[in-house]
């Protein structure tokens, strides 16, 4: 009994000793408060690929300070002081690394700026060149327009010449009233107002002329010699003028451009005493207005 009691007591003592030892182990001073956080901050900076190599000296100093801060220290004020220093050293290393990275980026930024400036100048030069080319083109266009105007002027001149030529063909006389074309008495049989079918060559030329110059208008005037009564001559001259107008209208000349009037025995152009003079007086005159060609 006694021996068992003794052995129980001894084992109890052993347990207690072990427990005390364990307790003393457990109460071993841990690392200072805050040091783990500082270590985490340092690790974060070290594993930041962009910043890790930015400030090697400061980073090394920070690392040393963190190691010191992690040292077990009974003096809590000293431990807090070391943690404080380590914390700020890590922050300093980060700020210096940020500065370094920014300075490295600056080189590229300045290069970009230079490139943009160069591009801008190149584009301005291109623009200026394009503008010059455009002005040249415009000058060319202006020249060709001038040429066209010249051509038009030439063609106007040609047209005027053509008109002149046609008038010559028509044998028109320029007078104060306009161009006067005299159609002879061969157009009509004696005492009749029907146009003879074989005598229309001059009328056809007139038709072509009026169709080509649609701005022009014409006054058709019939005249007779002094043979026969005045009333009859007036009537005949009117009918003959109307016949000429009808002929022209029938070939496409607008009747609005034409007026026909009988003048009878008035305005003789020759002596009515001779046969030749009377023949000259029997006529139809077409006065073409000098309207715009």
């Amino acid at each position: 009994m006694n021996t068992t009691n003794y052995s129980v007591t001894s084992s109890l003592i052993k347990v207690v000793v072990a427990a005390v030892l364990l307790a003393s182990c457990a109460s071993t001073p841990t690392r200072p408060a805050g040091s783990a956080e500082v270590r985490a901050k340092l690790t974060a900076l070290q594993s930041d690929t962009a910043l890790a190599s930015g400030a090697p000296v400061a980073l090394k100093e920070a690392e040393s300070a963190v190691v010191v801060a992690e040292m077990i220290e009974k003096d809590l004020a000293l431990a807090a002081h070391r943690v404080y220093i380590a914390d700020r050293k890590v922050d300093i290393a980060r700020a210096l690394a940020v500065t370094h990275v920014a300075e490295q980026q600056r080189t590229a930024l300045v290069e970009q700026g230079e490139k943009a400036r160069l591009d801008s100048r190149t584009r301005e030069a291109d623009l200026a060149r394009n503008e010059a080319a455009e002005q040249k083109l415009q000058a060319g266009q202006a020249r060709s327009e001038a040429d066209a105007a010249l051509v038009a002027a030439n063609s106007a001149q040609q047209q005027a010449m053509e008109l002149q030529r046609q008038l010559e063909i028509l044998q028109a006389r320029p007078t104060d009233r306009g161009l006067v074309l005299t159609l002879g008495d061969t157009l009509f049989a004696t005492g009749k107002s029907e146009i003879k079918s074989g005598a229309t060559a001059n009328l056809d030329k007139l038709t072509a002329f009026l169709n080509e110059y649609p701005q022009r208008t014409a006054v058709i005037e019939g005249y007779t010699d002094s043979m026969g009564s005045e009333e009859m001559n007036q009537s005949l001259s009117q009918r003959r003028a109307d016949a000429v107008k009808g002929y022209l209208v029938g070939r496409g000349v607008s009747s609005e451009r034409l007026s026909a009037s009988g003048r009878g025995e008035n305005s003789p152009v020759a002596d009515n005493e001779s046969a030749a003079g009377r023949q000259q007086n029997r006529r139809v005159e077409v006065v073409i207005s000098p309207g715009a060609p």
């Binding site: 002081h81 700020r88 050293k89 930024l109």
Partner: protein, 134 residues
């Protein structure tokens, strides 16, 4: 050299070694710790340097903290708390160094942004100009 038989000479010898150690221990125990002059100077220098690099604008909080720590260090000197004074001085110094570093970083970033902005304006202007002509 050492002989257990000459006990008197041995004890004298022991005393000769121990005495300076005792004196040293006594002097350190009773002597007042010196004012941490160099630490205070280093802190002042660091603060002046931070002010020089516009830390007041870019890292005002840190600069204020550094000044506060330096003031605390000076108070501790007056109170003859030299160990405390030295720690405050060191903290003031490191805080001022942080203020300067942060100011440097802020300025570097600002310069980059300025360059970026200028370039962007240039590109924008260029596109507007060429846009007008097209």
């Amino acid at each position: 050299m050492y002989s257990p038989f000459k006990s008197t000479s041995a004890s004298r010898r022991r005393l000769r070694i121990a005495l300076p150690i005792l004196l040293l221990v006594a002097s350190t125990a009773f002597a007042r710790p010196p004012v941490p002059t160099s630490n205070l100077q280093a802190a002042q220098l660091a603060i002046a340097n931070a002010e020089r690099v516009d830390a007041a604008t870019h890292a005002g909080v840190e600069l204020g903290e550094a000044r506060g720590k330096l003031a605390a260090a000076q108070r501790a000197v007056e109170e003859k708390e030299m160990v405390v004074a030295q720690r405050f001085a060191d903290e003031a110094r490191v805080e001022a160094e942080l203020a300067a570093a942060k100011a440097g970083a802020a300025k570097a970033i600002a310069v980059n942004k300025d360059i970026e902005r200028t370039t962007a304006t240039l590109i924008d202007e260029m596109q507007r100009k060429t846009g007008e002509s097209r």
